[in-house]
């Protein structure tokens, strides 16, 4: 475990040196600032769209960040030939995946926290109240980001980075569809599509922004359930990545 934690620390340092990450961070911060500058035109409920757009920007920023963090990890390690020495002595294949994912997840959560603080500053600067449950909503976006990162890392073992990004985007869009919208993609087979929809992860589970925007209290039991749901899917994705990586010939 100590080796994996040390390796995840190395991963954080490696990721922090990349310009891509800081680019995504800066772009999302700029988007939040832009949202904050939208004039209210005297509309009393302008806080509603600042929060809505702000949290949507955070979610999309999390998706792009996950792709930026995870898509190149395995191909780059292989290209720079540090993978074989790592696996030869200090790390098992499972340790490699765990270390790289934990490092990436740390950066993902740190960035989500940073954006949450930025959005809070924007709202307070506009004299808007920060609703109760705001941080809970941001925490669920962080969990969603970690799940997306696990998908990107898992895909990274099989597909190249240019293909990884559109596949993840497509998956994100499909997983954001409601049941009826998903079935309408293939209306001829509602049963099979309904079953497939059930098996797919639902991004809606992590979305509580509508609740906090409209002043409804999100039950703590549901928050715990959403965290369990996100962790379960993340573990499954990483297990599949491990199974895929363990059969891979690295020579």
């Amino acid at each position: 475990m100590r080796r994996i934690l040390a390796f995840s620390g190395m991963t954080v340092r490696m990721l922090a040196r990349r310009r891509t990450i800081w680019g995504v961070c800066a772009l999302t911060a700029l988007a939040l600032l832009g949202i904050g500058l939208i004039p209210s035109y005297g509309v009393a409920s302008s806080g509603w769209f600042v929060l809505d757009l702000g949290m949507s920007a955070m979610e999309l920023g999390g998706l792009v960040l996950a792709i930026g963090l995870g898509a190149g990890i395995f191909p780059r390690d292989r290209e720079t030939r540090i993978l074989l020495p790592l696996l030869a002595v200090p790390l098992s294949r499972g340790g490699y995946i765990s270390g790289r994912f934990l490092g990436g997840a740390f950066v993902q959560i740190a960035m989500t926290l940073l954006w949450a603080v930025a959005l809070m500053i924007v709202m307070l600067a506009r004299g808007l109240p920060v609703p109760g449950g705001f941080l809970v909503s941001c925490a669920l976006l962080g969990i969603e980001g970690c799940f997306l990162l696990s998908v990107v890392v898992a895909l990274g073992f099989r597909v190249s980075p240019p293909l990884n990004a559109p596949l993840t985007f497509l998956g994100f869009i499909i997983c954001s569809l409601g049941r009826q919208d998903f079935i309408s993609l293939l209306p001829g087979a509602p049963g099979a599509m309904g079953l497939l929809w059930t098996a797919l992860p639902h991004m809606a589970v992590f979305h509580v922004k509508d609740a906090i925007m409209h002043g409804f209290r999100v039950p703590p039991g549901f928050v715990l359930l959403a965290v369990l749901y996100g962790v379960s899917y993340t573990l499954l994705t990483l297990s599949l990545a491990y199974a895929s990586f363990s059969r891979r010939d690295l020579r």
Partner: protein, 97 residues
């Protein structure tokens, strides 16, 4: 084997959509009062007291507002965790060989 009917009873409604029992807006909300804060723009209510609005159905059908979906989510999470453990176990055995 006795777990199978329970499993189906929890998962099938989620597939067919009949498990979605949305949280109803509170009596106070329906009566024209509000539990919401100023942020929500309550002045834009378009339904009369005591009536449900189709315009807001999307809000009350979201997972956080549909306790009917929660047992299915819990069951699905448990299945996923068991599946992960199974995959790790099988892969570990494969690697040891």
């Amino acid at each position: 084997m006795t777990a199978l009917p329970v499993l189906l009873a929890l998962l099938v409604p989620m597939v067919t959509g009949s498990a979605a029992a949305p949280v109803q807006p509170s009596d106070e909300h329906l009566a024209g009062g509000s539990e919401a804060v100023e942020l929500s723009g309550q002045e834009h209510h378009e339904h009369g007291a005591g009536e449900r609005s189709d315009c807001t159905a999307w809000l009350f059908e979201q997972p956080w507002a549909s306790p009917g979906q929660w047992p299915s989510l819990l069951l699905l999470s448990t299945i996923l965790l068991a599946l992960s453990a199974g995959i790790l176990l099988v892969t570990g055995r494969h690697l040891r060989r």
